[in-house]
Subunit: 317 residues, 2 copies
Amino acid sequence: MKLYVGIDLGGTNIGAGIVDGDGNILIKGEVATGASRPFEEVIEDMAGLIEDLMEQGEYTISDIEAIGIGSPGSIDREKGVVVSANNLGWRYAPVREELQKHIDLPVYLENDANVAGLAESVAGVCKGAKNSVTITLGTGVGSGIIIDGKPYIGSHGVGAELGHIIVHVDGIQCNCGNKGCLERYASATALIREGRKAAEENPNSLIAKSVDGDLDKINAKVVIDAAKAGDEKALEIFETYIYYLTMGIVTTVNMLDPSVIAIGGGVSRAGDFLLDALRESVAEHTFYKDIESSNIYLSELGNDAGIIGAAMLGSIK
Amino acid sequence: MKLYVGIDLGGTNIGAGIVDGDGNILIKGEVATGASRPFEEVIEDMAGLIEDLMEQGEYTISDIEAIGIGSPGSIDREKGVVVSANNLGWRYAPVREELQKHIDLPVYLENDANVAGLAESVAGVCKGAKNSVTITLGTGVGSGIIIDGKPYIGSHGVGAELGHIIVHVDGIQCNCGNKGCLERYASATALIREGRKAAEENPNSLIAKSVDGDLDKINAKVVIDAAKAGDEKALEIFETYIYYLTMGIVTTVNMLDPSVIAIGGGVSRAGDFLLDALRESVAEHTFYKDIESSNIYLSELGNDAGIIGAAMLGSIK
């Protein structure tokens, strides 16, 4: 069986793994990205990590079919270039060309949200689904759309930006320039924003107390834990969050009607508390109640999704 | 060259045509639907129309590859059944089975909005585009999504319902059960609703005058013509209309990033007045301003789209 290298390129760490064709990680490791260094040094360390893993696993280059890289930001897939990635500080970084100076294998690049969607489609909760959408609820809202088993990226490579579908005309200003994008309401950042506001307004609330009044410590988990504990204000924030996320999912269902919608990212660690509320809310707002609709699950692969999905870029080419 | 029969099944008329593989109509005709009659009689007339056209054009059954039917409502493609179509008054109508009693050819069914999208993709303004979306602005807002040259219908056949993406959380109540669907703001019905309201409030407005005060005569054309003539209130309605339609298109672009977006349906007869305003507005709200984005055009095929797209169902199978 041919093997694949998957690279999860992040602002803090570079994760790498050797993965089989079914999406099983055989061996993995990571190094610090050190993104402020010259780009060439980062890629040199990336190559070193791959070589270390091959040595540890006793694989040779002939065992490996290709290297796939999931990167934040915008990507030129044909040229193998990271066009712009703010949290790496890179613009027009020729990743493929630089990596191939060290390792002579095909190198595929893809956006990290699309890679996560591919991972869930090959080896996670969307396995076997023809069409699926993986929504990543983190600092922003990312998404990977899989159609017929392949990442759908659109005609100019900028599709699958579920975070920037507009759910509220003239709503909250988004950093994309528009107003009312889903990301403004359904990201961890939205929970934090609303949690801080609530804690400021009511210093005796559970949210404020659970961070000893240090509002900078409020994260999505703090808000959701307070909601789980029954705090009224936190529950209100959580319900609004679920409502907006539902509207984004309704739009996704009415447009793409996927078999499976997978919910990943930091907020998804809220587990069944999130999933149950979301399923109930989406069911309430589904148009065709008499036919089967998209199933909603929590994504399965967690942090490994980046490595697995990147590796699978080589297997779907 | 193999030929195809395309049927445009409407509440008022049944249109039919014999179409070549490039989407050119060689001969066409129509009969009244008479939807209130027994279903079997409607299909008998449909078969009669097809046979008439074949006779007139001197085609034999061996010249025809298949019959495609574009139907309103929801469709069971596998079984060839119209599951539910309000403006035909049909529920679970076995169209394929009934038609094949008269003509022994493969019969394909598809939703009429998807068929219109396919027509534009094969022979209209989306020709050559890998991915396209045709948006039909009529009584409702319909859409046909073409991905890789084929209608994209989703995993349960209910995708491509652009009219029911949510653009305004808690907005106007829609007959689908949700609030704030695009259809409530971007259909001809929305223009009529706002036009009537304006005429009621101001009987001296151009909208009211152009129908001699008979508000029931206000249609989309009346409102748009008043806007074209510079009437302040009509322009305000038109600008709001364009704004909401823009938000729906921004969502479409950020999700699907198609090569082409085609605008069809009754409202599209406003021509360049609509197109220019829409293009300007969408460009203003596009995120990636430095790369090529979806081109917006008016759809080309008009009423023939139904026949052409239905016929092409046979050619893409």
